[in-house]
Symmetry: C2
Subunit: 207 residues, 2 copies
Amino acid sequence: MIDEPSRKRTDARRNRHRIIEVAAETFAAHGLDVPMREIARRAGVGPATLYRHFPAKGDLVAETFADQLAHCVATLDAALADPDPWHGFRTFIEKVCAMQAEDRGFTAAFLATLPDSLATDFARLRDHHVRRFAELTRRAKESGQLRRDFVPDDIKLLIMANGGVGAESPAAARAASRRLVALLLQSLQAHPTDPPAPLPPPVPMAW
Amino acid sequence: MIDEPSRKRTDARRNRHRIIEVAAETFAAHGLDVPMREIARRAGVGPATLYRHFPAKGDLVAETFADQLAHCVATLDAALADPDPWHGFRTFIEKVCAMQAEDRGFTAAFLATLPDSLATDFARLRDHHVRRFAELTRRAKESGQLRRDFVPDDIKLLIMANGGVGAESPAAARAASRRLVALLLQSLQAHPTDPPAPLPPPVPMAW
């Protein structure tokens, strides 16, 4: 027979796992504004249990998106280390958009406007990396390859556009995203190649 | 006192108006797959009332999106009449994306995959205009201004990308859409201008 403390630990782990799973789905579908009590309701736990695991909403957001943020930061590190800033810049955009095509939760984490009351470690970390992306942008412009009128905030425009792309299957959605991103990167060049580089193949679309 | 037949006609008109309003909202948010009984429930009418007004789902779809389709067809007519096919093409993309930024219901109507069982007048009409857009594409390529690897289905990719763009206010969303569309059109040129044409101003984005 399982002893009582061990059973409690198992229940707690299961609840924690369930809460994070539900939070990821809910934030992805409805953004980060969903109230904590709604997360608790959907996860089938009481508010007390939710707050025992995650004392503040920022804690829940941070843990829910920890993997995505880490992946994104590693991609940005690689881009900033690239000796060719334009190659670093375009590889970063391609990888971030590919991650997004795989995982819609990433979009929610990336785009969410966090109110000041949630200015948590997660938000501070994200802001830090937004500033690092601005540095990547500056270097790519200085190298003469990124168009001068690109602004760092445009990353949000690209991410939103890429987030709008869907298709019948995950594979078709990835392919559609690749074609869109190739179009967008083409137009971000300071001196566009003529003729333009060929696009990845089109994706047959059902009407 | 209002006579009985007159009251019935008023009720019927009110129901019809309410059903179309609810259908537009529901199709915009959830696509055209929403069952008829769900539309009836949301509109607060019985299924019999719904089917009396709209015997088939295609009838409801057609009436819900009649205005958007008419506007879109007029825009395509103008594009095909343009003596400069590339100017016609880019004006069409700009106008369709601007309509979309104003009205999300338009996106649902444009992108919805209609099952064969709904192969109604609406679907046939849309298919007819998709073929006319393919003709516009062919002419813009023949004029040497649209890149050769653009395919007519790419209009769906552009519409999905544009549909992903949102912002704090309708005015900011329109401005963000204009900037995205300018980027996309730049990359669709067979021989990109160097330096690229300046973009519409960036939209400040909240993080």
